[in-house]
């Protein structure tokens, strides 16, 4: 049986652990003060914001493993958030119905991408660049520059499924990571995704339905982005068209840091979620270092490069050994 955990996820966990240990040591407070980084409230905060990226990164990892690329998740997050917020606040729908509509909007974006890539045969970069513009633009048209104040309509002590609201999106992320990791490792569908990304020609000869596999991956990625968008709207308390600007690159970076190869055929859903956590910790801890405020983007960029270079060196060594 395939190990559900591969070696690559363990090394991502190790990087995350080293990162946390570093900030715990570096930000160690003077005696009698609570640690600014290592405390329960901060942990929930990191998880809450990382989960927005993490849920979408599950989709990004699958797209990249299938040999594609998706530039649209940031825009899909915003559009599904806007639709959810607009119906919930503007049209007075129930939260469940609005969220479902937001989800279906995101899924619709995925179907458009799938049609463009599989039926029309556009390169994924171009197809998703176009969908990114369309989804983002649709968000602006719907809101006309306003924002929908979701928080005002949410019950003050709202506990979805009996859980504190801050826990919902992290738990959702963990659950979805588990589900999709299982799909990718234990189901024939996931194996076909790896096969298509590794060698599309051989996949066709081997009887894989290449078009269907690719379409399903783009659809799944858009659905996950929609879930992330609904979560973000609730977490931030507002539906806005300029939400999640530029997230697509952080989402792709999460998947790559988690072991996905842009050449296709390699990567991990759990790794992508861990990658999102690595960035979440950085984004949370760096601003707490005095004087580091202006360095955080630079450090995030360096971290991407260092981790991917390390990975390639290890891969090369592994190949020589075998």
């Amino acid at each position: 049986m395939t190990r559900w955990w591969e070696g690559r996820e363990l090394s991502t966990v190790a990087i995350l652990a080293i990162e946390i240990a570093f900030f715990a040591w570096y930000l160690w407070p003077p005696a009698n003060r609570t640690h600014p980084f290592v405390n329960a409230a901060n942990a929930v905060l990191i998880l809450k914001y990382s989960s927005i990226y993490g849920i979408a990164a599950i989709g990004a990892a699958m797209v990249i493993i299938a040999g594609g690329i998706d530039l649209s998740p940031g825009a899909v997050i915003a559009l599904s958030g806007v639709v959810t917020g607009g119906l919930f606040v503007g049209s007075g729908w129930s939260l469940t119905a609005s969220a479902l509509a937001g989800f279906l909007t995101g899924a619709g974006c995925g179907l458009v991408t799938a049609a463009l890539v599989v039926a029309v045969g556009l390169p994924p970069f171009i197809a998703t660049l176009g969908v990114m513009g369309i989804a983002r633009g649709a968000g602006f048209i719907i809101t006309e520059g306003r924002y929908f104040d979701v928080s005002s309509r949410l019950p003050a002590d709202w506990r979805p499924l009996g859980l504190p609201i801050d826990w919902t999106s992290p738990l959702l992320m963990i659950g979805l990571a588990f589900v999709f990791q299982t799909l990718m490792i234990r189901m024939q569908w996931g194996r076909a995704v790896f096969a298509v990304g590794g060698n599309e020609t051989a996949a066709r000869y081997s009887g894989v339905r290449v078009g269907l596999v690719k379409a399903s991956v783009y659809l799944a990625a858009a659905m996950l982005a929609a879930v992330s968008g609904i979560a973000l709207t609730i977490v931030q308390g507002q539906g806005k068209a300029d939400l999640a600007m530029g997230y697509e690159l952080d989402i792709i970076a999460s998947a790559v840091v988690g072991g996905a190869s842009l050449a296709g055929g390699r990567g991990s859903v759990v790794g992508a979620v861990l990658g999102a956590l690595i960035f979440g910790v950085l984004r949370n801890a760096l601003p707490q270092i005095p004087g580091a405020t202006f360095y955080d983007r630079l450090i995030v960029g360096l971290v991407v490069i260092v981790i991917v270079v390390m990975d390639q060196v290890l891969q090369r060594r592994k190949r020589v050994d075998s």
Partner: protein
Amino acid sequence: MAAAVEFRQIGKSFGAVAALQDVTFAIAQGESHAIVGENGAGKSTLLRILVGGVRPDRGELRIGGDAVTLNIARDAMARGVGLVHQEMLAFPNLSAAANIFAGREITGRFGWLRDGEMRDRARVLLERLDVPISPDAPVESLPVAYRQLLQVARALASDCRTLALDEPTASLTAAESDRLFAILDGLKRRGVTLIYVSHRLSEVFRLCDRITVLRDGCYVDTFSRDAIGADAIVQAMVGRTLPPRASVAATTPGGEPLLRIDRLTRRPRFADVSVSVMPGEIVGLFGLVGSGRTEVLETIVGLQRADGGMLTVDGRVRTFRSPRHAARAGVVLVPEDRQRQGLFFNLNLRHNLALPAAEASGARIVRGAERGAASALLARWRIKASSVDATPGALSGGNQQKVVAAKWLAMEPRVLLLDEPTKGVDVGAKYEIHGMIRDRASRRAACLIASSDLPELLGLADRIVVMREGRLRGEVSATDAAAFTEERVMRLATTAS
């Protein structure tokens, strides 16, 4: 007068395989000289040595009387030697003129491109070759034949006095070939030395003054065109005695044909191809490069669409839309190119081996039992790998090829199509792959093997059908020992009847 080109005791090995051994012959100034031989005879290696693509391990190459050491193609060009490749080496995104001068652009100060001059010179060259295209035409818009002619123009642009051509007509139609020959005749009249490598003896006899035969990397002889016939050339190419035919016939094929194709056509690659294969029968589909054999197999499993004809499997008329559709009906194609079509280098052997069977059976879940099944396949076919968790990249070529065969055989197909099943593998692996095919046939599968390796087919097949230029040209059966010979098959495959 010194010979245009002289090979002296040239030797070259790739790993343990000797591609050329002690090859010595000369090509006179201004003659047109053919080099012929079977696949693997060393023709292409010799040409690559001539144009600086490969350095010989031993021996000496003389051009115009001088011993030379060519390190890169540029050195050969400087000596007036040009090559027209078998594959279309061209930059489809660039213009005709840019292709002609690619790598040797005419530049002014600071490397500034002198486009106007290149365009003018390209126009003159193309006119000289009677090629009616503009120097500005993007190459991707040109028909294949013109791309081939652009290579000729490219060679001439560097004042080439010796032009080598490697199977230049492999992808040309008859009319396009005629045009190429007219151009080559013109060059010959102007005193250009031609070195012509081809399988097609009719072309060789039409164009060349002398013919050199290579066999298994060794020089056999050089003949004058007027003093020899096609039959004698074929005999010289084949030459060796056949390995003893392995005892086949574990089961005698018989009954109704399991696979039948009837006047199958896909223009312009092949037309009116009809073959039947009985259960338990191994049929060879022999043809040289460009004969259309691969296309026939790919059309059967639905990778390409047929223009006409009928496919019958087990008495039912079928049209397969995709290899998946074919596999679900028990018809599989083991493809030719293991790197590109056969293997997933990102996945371990277990995944590689299990994929086709799992897809064909419509599996949803990856079963734990497949680890054992994959290990059993490795053991059964003696595939040397550290474990089922190794990736194909860690295996030798022969073992990779066995994995490719094993993954499709694991589906227990009723109709097994194989395209060059032993291309580029060592003798041991070849023998074992033959064992795999015989095993399948003994379980009453119908096997159709496309190959350009004639001794292989003669040793393996019950019958051989021969294709040339997209059409069936004949059939020989193992039961007719007098006809089941290399000479007979090669003659069907090379000479126009």
